[in-house]
């Protein structure tokens, strides 16, 4: 093969990935307008909540935790697939990850940004959120570090920061590529500043590679620890439906499951819109679908164990929670949505033929997203609606502010994701080139 052939192929690849950065796309303007409008409504409702207090939400005793905590757990779960795909698959040398890892990492960052908002708003007086951190306070009352709630603050802020560092480090060679290929001077300057003077020198690459590997190694236990800590918020409490040792692994599996579903939800339309068919191949999507099935089965196993433990405990409150409140209680519809999305829908992925149908895969990924949000509602709200004393039972009803903030957080997430697609290379260009070069060498028997 002549040297010109791979160069031409690399030029085509660069044009495909960087094209949206230079040229944009017809759908960007309406998409930005729509999600921007939703984001404005989101911040208006947040402002209304901060001014009036969380009495404008539907949560009240006994369901003191409701939409805000459901949304927090949902978004932080979505954020897990990014690190899973980037870090864990990197450590296992799964080269196919390079076509989807940038999508997943960006999704992680924006999901964690949404997640971090909710516990702060739920404080009621968000301007005191800094009390969660051990700042030098004159009142000498310190965060109670034996409670899982300050663990959450440490885990989520660490996860967000490490994910950002990992994302930015991976982006550096591609920012340099954008800087060098930019048609206008102002773009070269702006991307040049963010590329930090990356020159592709081998003296840089050797430290870069080591740092990337070490960050992948550091991010891997974070994937497992963050949702374990989040699950401790529930498992440490005595509430029926929460007090279970299965929670940490069950939450981690659920997080990766929901995150992979969101990756597919975003990847399938973006791949089509940007004509990334050669980069994000059918085989890559098939692998994501298989991972979705496997993690879905882990979640289903978690459901089975939860039900078994409730029955085996012989505790009437636990048995009532699982066998009566959930399937026959006031919000039973969400329980059945959970079963549909997380148990039934992913079973279609056993079939290789159905996995090849991208429309079906997209619908399944949406159903899983809905199912996982419902699961968090089932765990958080239904458990609180039916605690030990039947005299204290009450039903929960969300308000328009709850629904508005939930919808707004999706708009804000999509707005940030659109910004990523428009202004940054959405596929890890240097990694794809490296994987292709390694593949070509392997085929050449060198």
């Amino acid at each position: 093969m002549t040297a010109a052939a791979p160069r031409a192929e690399e030029a085509r690849l660069a044009d495909a990935v960087l094209g949206p950065v230079w040229r944009g796309g017809r759908f960007f303007a309406p998409a930005f307008a729509l999600t921007g409008l939703g984001t404005i409504v989101f911040f208006l409702l947040i402002s209304y909540t901060v001014v009036r207090g969380i009495g404008v939400w539907g949560n009240n005793i006994p369901a003191a935790w409701a939409f805000a905590i459901v949304n927090f757990v949902f978004w932080i779960g979505i954020g897990h697939a990014g690190t899973f795909i980037s870090a864990i698959l990197y450590l296992f040398e799964q080269r196919w990850r390079s076509s989807v890892n940038r999508f997943a990492e960006a999704m992680t960052l924006f999901a964690v940004a949404q997640a971090a908002l909710f516990p702060v708003l739920h404080l009621g007086r968000p301007w005191f959120a800094y009390w969660l951190f051990p700042y030098p306070a004159t009142m000498a009352v310190w965060p109670q570090v034996k409670s899982p709630l300050p663990w959450d603050a440490a885990a989520v802020s660490t996860y967000g920061t490490v994910s950002l560092l990992f994302f930015y480090l991976g982006l550096l060679p591609d920012l340099a590529a954008v800087r060098d290929a930019a048609p206008e001077r102002w773009r070269r300057r702006v991307y040049g500043v963010f590329a930090l003077g990356f020159r592709g020198s081998e003296a840089t690459w050797r430290h870069y590679r080591r740092a990337y590997l070490l960050l992948a190694g550091l991010a891997t236990p974070l994937v497992l620890s963050v949702h374990s800590v989040v699950s401790s918020d529930f498992a440490v409490g005595l509430t029926p439906g929460w007090h279970s040792t299965i929670f940490p692994p069950y939450f981690v599996a659920g997080a990766i499951f929901s995150g992979l579903a969101m990756v597919l939800t975003l990847l399938i339309p973006a791949r089509r819109a940007f004509h990334f068919e050669d980069i994000v191949t059918r085989a890559d999507i098939d692998r994501c679908a298989k991972l979705l099935l496997v993690t879905g089965l882990c979640v289903d196993y978690g459901y089975l164990v939860e039900y078994f433990l409730a029955w085996y405990s012989g505790d009437p409150a636990e048995i009532g929670q699982f066998f009566d409140a959930r399937p026959r209680g006031p919000n039973a519809a969400l329980f059945y949505l959970m079963v549909l999305g997380n148990v039934l829908a992913p079973q279609a992925l056993w079939s290789a033929r159905l996995r090849k149908n991208l429309w079906l895969l997209f619908v399944i990924s949406l159903l899983v997203n809905v199912g996982m949000w419902s699961e968090r509602f089932v765990i958080v709200v239904m458990s609180l609606e039916r605690e030990f004393l039947s005299a204290a039972w009450a039903d929960y009803a969300p308000t328009y502010v709850d629904f508005g903030i939930l919808a707004g957080s999706f708009c804000c997430f999509l707005l940030l994701f659109l910004g990523f697609l428009r202004f940054l290379p959405s596929v890890a260009l240097s990694e794809v080139k490296e994987a292709r070069h390694a593949g070509a060498r392997g085929r050449g028997g060198e």
């Binding site: 690399e10 440490a154 060098d180 930090l196 592709g200 840089t204 690459w205 430290h207 960050l215 060498r441």
Partner: protein, 176 residues
């Protein structure tokens, strides 16, 4: 005035041959610029492994130990409070935050260490003055000869580079 000589090759294999021909990274002033990290060029240069790992480990240990000490100082020493019968010094409860802070500081050490060791955050470099060097982040593989490497390579370094397959050879001023 010092000079740099930059030569562009079509692929990593051609660049690796040129790197070997000029003595590899043992010669000060010789480096390679590539759009992605490649094993062939790495082997040809023969640079030692990065020594970031001990720094990252140190960052992790300092983060974890510092967080644990702070937790003890705050809730076991300054304001001991009995919550749920747990002792003021409760190692199991102190672990999650200590672990998270260990990971955080290790990640900071890895990230900022790689920027410092890789000589990044330097927005201008003489190589940017070279015409066509933009391809180093796209599809071009560049050899950089400066200082002792350039002195040793003379005379007729351009001719040798062209024999080795360089498609473009350029000299730029290295003094900032």
């Amino acid at each position: 005035m010092t000079e740099l000589l930059l030569a562009e090759f079509d692929g990593p294999e051609a660049l690796a041959r040129a790197v070997r021909a000029f003595g590899g990274a043992r010669i000060p002033g010789l480096d390679a610029h590539t759009p992605y990290s490649t094993e062939v060029v790495r082997d040809a240069l023969g640079l030692p492994e990065s020594r970031l790992s001990p720094w990252v480990f140190g960052g992790g240990v300092i983060g974890a130990a510092g967080a644990y000490a702070l937790e003890w100082f705050l809730v076991a020493h300054l304001y001991p409070l009995n919550v749920g019968g747990r002792p003021p010094h409760f190692p199991l409860g102190f672990v999650p935050i200590a672990f998270e802070m260990g990971v955080l500081l290790a990640a900071f050490a890895g990230f900022f260490g790689s920027l410092a060791a890789g000589r990044l955050v330097k927005l201008w470099d003489p190589v940017f003055e070279c015409e066509g060097f933009e391809s180093a982040s796209q599809d071009g593989f560049w050899l950089r000869l400066g200082g002792e490497a350039l002195v040793r390579a003379a005379p007729d370094v351009e001719g040798r580079l062209r024999e080795l397959g360089a498609r473009r050879v350029q000299r730029v001023e290295a003094s900032a």
